[in-house]
Every structure is written in structure tokens, then in C-alpha cells.
Symmetry: C2
Subunit: 349 residues, 2 copies
């Protein structure tokens, strides 16, 4: 019987944030690709597109004109998934199979730049800091709305991630309930904090720094790493070194380091396959429910689908949907690849 | 304040199988589409493709020749995600962040037909019954392997679902652990069974039949419905009316009704957008761990991504990945649309 070799043998790994297992099949990265190829838009984009509803001065679907904004710009989503109206409702908790309850929320769009063709890695550091400050302001403002208990900041980048417009932008969906994934994460964090008196990610990052096998970027205040339990081929997580529970905890130095980490990570991503790298990213942090949440620890997930080139992505389908998430290349290998890539954007060389 | 209207107001619904909430935004189905369009292959396929590694008589990547099979045909996956080798391993359960353990398994490919261009809805009922009998045999044979405790039968159909070959086929991944989604489902079913003495799906289907709002197909032994908590636009579930815990429990009559349900459901799917409808499907049933599982109840999930046409799919991205699954069109509306579609395939009229 052979000894377990985590770099070669199929195995499962445990995700302590979501409290679930994932399947890793390192030997499978050798199989030939026979699936669909994505078509990646390669046309050079103009800095201003008269048909783009996010460019400064243009008209949106609801007839409103965008201002001539010069840095970031925030507006209410014209096709929000939630509405602000208060709804009368009697709870049907006794009903096992047909439980439903109204959900109030506010959705906003955050334009990262007036320039239609500028993505995060190509922006300068002050502009990225400005986006972070916009997120801080929105987290505060939305969190202060009495019925808003959670503020989800996220970005879908690239048409393969369902992004309807290449103009650099993210979204914020703020709502009264904790969404399912956040609820699970919070529950794991609470249990850990109760048992150890530290935040789960505080201790995890400490151990990762010592092992130094999955670290992609490290600076004074932040770490970007491939989690031990990552499911997407080049999934990463940016974590604050300090136990900051939310984005508004950051000092000026921390904001600067966060901006630098964002720029370096997204630059490495673009350099990986020399393409504008698609992903969904999102920040997980303390709810805005008025409670203290010492168990929370600020982190930002990046879930990029590309697997082996600009046009070949990983599909999370049949087995993954019915069984559990599955990956081929190991997190250690992905981390080594990303770490080795330049911090200078391929387009600028 | 207005009264809650489940057909109009944003709300969350509870999934009692996975024990989690999903977001429903009925008003949002009106928003204009601005996202990516899928390219759907429309070329007519030949009945035999000399380059297809699944067609009878052809050579596979590992050099083996397929037999000249005449109905269904099963072989071991040449690029399996799990391996059969026994691996020596010491549990590191005390380790919080770096838990990993080897996983043994067997992966098989099930060709549904020798014909390269024949999909489920276009096959005759005896051929579909034959596929069901093949699944029964595989469930039994694989389940009898001492270290196999779970047999996941599934199909990825269509390039948009990562399916690498249009030749009609499904897969089976059998393994020693219960995969994450199955573990969650089993846990909900166990709790329900303990509290009610019936299987969860037995009581659910009973209530659905009385309400008759989400039923798509009903015959003597099976129901196909859009679950109250469905996340994909046209997601459905086939459930046995009787509390069968596994596919090998079915009588000859039940096999015939299951085949009929499969044919009618996939025909309706194809008719919806007059295209070969992509989906991932998979059977959830009793584990093969040697225990009695009275809580289990045979069901088959269909997760199709198409939203509003043959080329526009729903993206489960940013908010869905960080927060929770979200849908626009209500399950009731989807069920009504599917129910209203013909059981005669559009190509044959
Ligand atoms: O085995 P296939 O068809 O090549 O691969 C497909 O199904 C597998 C099981 O759902 C997935 O892991 C792959 O990502 C997908 O491309
Ligand atoms: O709001 P958008 O960019 O039009 O829509 C995109 O992001 C949303 C939030 O993740 C998803 O619900 C949609 O499926 C996706 O297409």
C-alpha cells in the first residue's frame, strides 16, 4: 500500500469557513481538453463609449443622465434584485415545505473609473484607494439604514462571469437578512472564536505565513493566498493581517496596502494567460446588524473560472452540483504559479 | 404598507433538502438582457462520427477499441477524478486548517445509445428503460465494492454545461465518502424522518399534488415538478410517488413510468426554446454503505442554465457565489410554462 501523497493522490480537503469538503484530483490535470472554448472579447475598447450606460454623461435605461464623474461613481441599480418597500407579512415558520418571507434591500452599482477601458490592474494606486474609500462610505451609509443588516460588495468581471458591460464596475447588494454563504461563514467563525479566543482567519493566516506554501503576495498589512480548500483553479483570498472585522476599520496605511495588494493580484491574474482575467470577487466582513462581531475577520474572495488558457474554463457542473466541488491542479501549484508572475502588467511591457 | 405578494415581491424561500435560503426576485424578469450570448451548436450531427471516442468501434484516448455496442455501453473513465488504489494515511483531524484525506473511487461513462446524434427525448421508451436498467446494474455492482459507500449517477448535457462530447452519455462517480451535497440532503432527510416517521419527499410530493401549482408531469408512479425552492430558471425534480429509497427498488411498472417521465420532461425542455436543451442532471438516492436508509427517497435533479432563449443563460456569479442563489422568474411560472409545452418533440412535427 502506498503512502498518501497530497501532490499526486485524489483526496478531499475541508473548508473550515463553509464547514464542508471539496474533492481534489491532482493527477487529472494531465487529461486532454475536449470541452467548449470560451470566446474572449479581444477588441481594443475606447476610453469613452457613447452606447455604454456607465460612461460619464450618458443616459441610463431609466432616462437619467450620468454625471461627468472623474473618479468613482455610485448609483442605485435600475434593475435591483431587491426593493426597499416595507412589506406586511405573517411568518409561516410552521410550514415545512413552503417557507417564504419578503426581503428588503438596496442595490447599487459602483463605477470604478470614468474610463470605459480601464480595469483594476491598470489603474494607479490612488485610484484604487479611491475605490476602497467608496466601498467604506457605502458600507457605512447602507449599514446605517435601519433595516439593512448585511452589505455585500462584489464584482463580476468578464462576459464569461455574466458581466453585462466591460466598463469597470462592481455592485453592492445590501439587505435585511444574512445571505446563506455569509451565515455559514459567520457560524464557523463564531464557533472558532468561542473555542480559541482568536478569529479563525487570524490563526489561519499565521499558520499559512509560517508554512509559506500558498502565499501569493505579502506586505505589512495584507496577505493574498490560495486557500488550502480553494475550489476554482486560481482562486485566492485577500486577508488583513490584523483582526479587522470590517472595511471601515482600516487605517490609511492599511488602505494603501489593500490597494497595492488588489493591484498586484489582478496584475498577476492578467499576466497568467495574457488576457483581461475574468472573475467574481466579493468582500466578506462583519454584518451591519448593530452587534459587535469580534469573530469576523475581513477577507475578499476571488473566484476566477479560467483553467488552462484564456479560453478554457473549469465547469462546476454535474458532479460538482450533485456531489461536491472538484478541482484538478492543487492549490499549492496554483499559488506557486501566481507568486512567480510579474507585478508589471503585460500590456505595459 | 402593502401585503406580501409572492408573485411580485422580492423574497427568500427555504430549501428543506439543503437547509438553506434562496433569493427570488420576480419583478426582475422584466430587465433588458445585456449580457453574453452563448453560441449553441446547431450543425446537424451524423449518426456515426469517426472522430468520436464514444461511438461504437472507435478508439479511445487510452488505445482501447469500443465494442460494436447496440444499446447502452459502460466503461471506466480514462481520466477519472478518483483512483481505486488503497492509500496509507493517518488522520489529522486535530488539524483545523489543513485537513485532507485520500479518497478512493471509480468513475464510469455510460453511453446511452450507439447513435451519435440521439438524445434522451428522441429515444424510444424501451431504449430509455434500458438506460434505467443500466443505472440499476451499475448502482448494484459499484455499491457492492467494499469501499464504495456512494454512487453518483449524473449527466452533463450541452457544451454550455462543460460536456466535452455531444454523443449521448452520462457518468457515474462512485466513492468511499458521501459527497457534501448528499451529506446535507441526508442530514435533512434523517431529521425529518425521525420527527415525522415519513420520508421528507413523501410528504412534500403529497402536498405539491394537492396544491397543483408546480407539477409539470404526473403519472401513476412519478411526479416531475419545479421545487418551491428551485434556483435555476427551469429547474425540476423527478420524484417517485412511493417511498423508494433507491433505483433498484423499482418494479417493472415503475421503471416504465420513470422512462416515460424522463422522455416527456426532456421533450418539454427541448420544446421550450426549440433547441437541444442543456442541463446537468443527477440522481440522489440511498448510499451504499450497508445501512438501511428509510429516510432516503429517490429523486433526480435537473439543473438547466437557460433563462430566456437558446442563447441566454442565467449566471450564478458574484452575489450568488458570495451571498446566495438568486432567481428571477418564479418556480410557479416556470412550472406553468413547462406543463403547457407539448410532449411531442418539436423536431418530429
Ligand atoms: O468528465 P468531463 O465530461 O470531461 O468533465 C465535465 O464533468 C465533470 C464532472 O461534473 C467536471 O468535473 C468537469 O469540469 C466537466 O468539464
Ligand atoms: O446585475 P448584472 O450584472 O446584470 O447581473 C449579473 O450579476 C448578478 C449578481 O451576481 C447575477 O444575479 C446575474 O445573473 C448576472 O448576470
Amino acid at each position: 500500500m502506498k503512502n498518501f501523497d497530497i501532490n499526486e493522490d485524489p483526496h478531499r480537503r475541508f473548508n473550515p469557513l463553509l464547514n464542508e469538503w471539496v474533492l481534489v484530483s491532482p493527477h487529472r490535470s494531465k487529461r486532454p481538453w475536449q470541452g467548449q472554448n470560451e470566446s474572449i472579447p479581444t477588441d481594443a475598447l475606447p476610453a469613452y463609449d457613447p452606447t455604454c450606460y456607465l460612461c460619464p454623461g450618458n443616459v441610463r435605461a431609466n432616462g437619467v443622465n450620468n454625471p461627468d464623474y472623474e473618479s468613482s461613481f455610485v448609483f442605485e441599480n435600475d434593475f435591483a434584485a431587491m426593493k426597499q418597500d416595507e412589506i406586511m407579512f405573517e411568518d409561516t415558520i410552521k410550514d415545512t415545505f413552503f417557507r417564504a418571507k419578503p426581503e428588503r434591500g438596496i442595490s447599487r452599482v459602483v463605477c470604478f473609473s470614468p474610463k470605459h477601458n480601464l480595469t483594476l490592474p491598470e489603474m494607479d494606486l490612488p485610484s484604487i484607494e479611491n475605490i476602497i474609500k467608496t466601498w467604506q462610505k457605502e458600507y457605512t451609509d447602507l449599514g446605517n439604514v435601519d433595516y439593512i443588516n448585511h452589505v455585500q460588495i462584489f464584482e463580476n468581471k468578464g462576459s464569461v462571469m455574466g458581466c453585462s458591460n466591460p466598463h469597470p464596475h462592481g455592485q453592492i447588494w445590501a439587505q435585511s437578512s444574512l445571505p446563506t454563504q455569509v451565515e455559514k461563514t459567520q457560524s464557523s467563525m463564531k464557533t472558532y472564536f468561542k473555542n480559541h479566543g482568536n478569529s479563525l482567519l487570524q490563526d489561519y493566516v499565521q499558520e499559512e505565513l509560517e508554512l509559506n506554501e500558498r502565499i501569493v503576495i505579502e506586505n505589512s498589512h495584507f496577505v493574498a493566498l490560495v486557500p488550502f480548500w480553494a475550489i476554482w483553479p486560481y482562486e485566492t483570498m485577500i486577508v488583513s493581517k490584523r483582526n479587522a472585522t470590517k472595511i471601515t476599520d482600516f487605517t490609511a496605511d492599511e488602505v494603501a496596502d489593500f490597494a497595492l495588494t488588489l493591484k498586484q493580484l489582478t496584475t498577476k491574474y492578467d499576466n497568467l494567460f495574457e488576457t483581461s482575467f475574468p472573475y467574481s470577487s466579493g468582500i466578506h466582513q462583519s454584518p451591519t446588524d448593530g452587534e459587535l462581531h469580534p469573530e469576523w475577520h475581513f477577507h475578499m474572495h476571488f473566484y476566477p473560472p479560467l483553467l488552462r488558457s484564456a479560453t478554457v474554463k473549469k465547469f462546476m457542473v454535474g458532479y460538482e452540483m450533485m456531489g461536491e466541488s472538484q478541482r484538478d491542479i492543487t492549490p499549492e501549484k496554483s499559488a506557486a504559479v501566481l507568486k512567480g508572475l510579474s507585478n508589471v502588467h503585460y500590456k505595459s511591457t
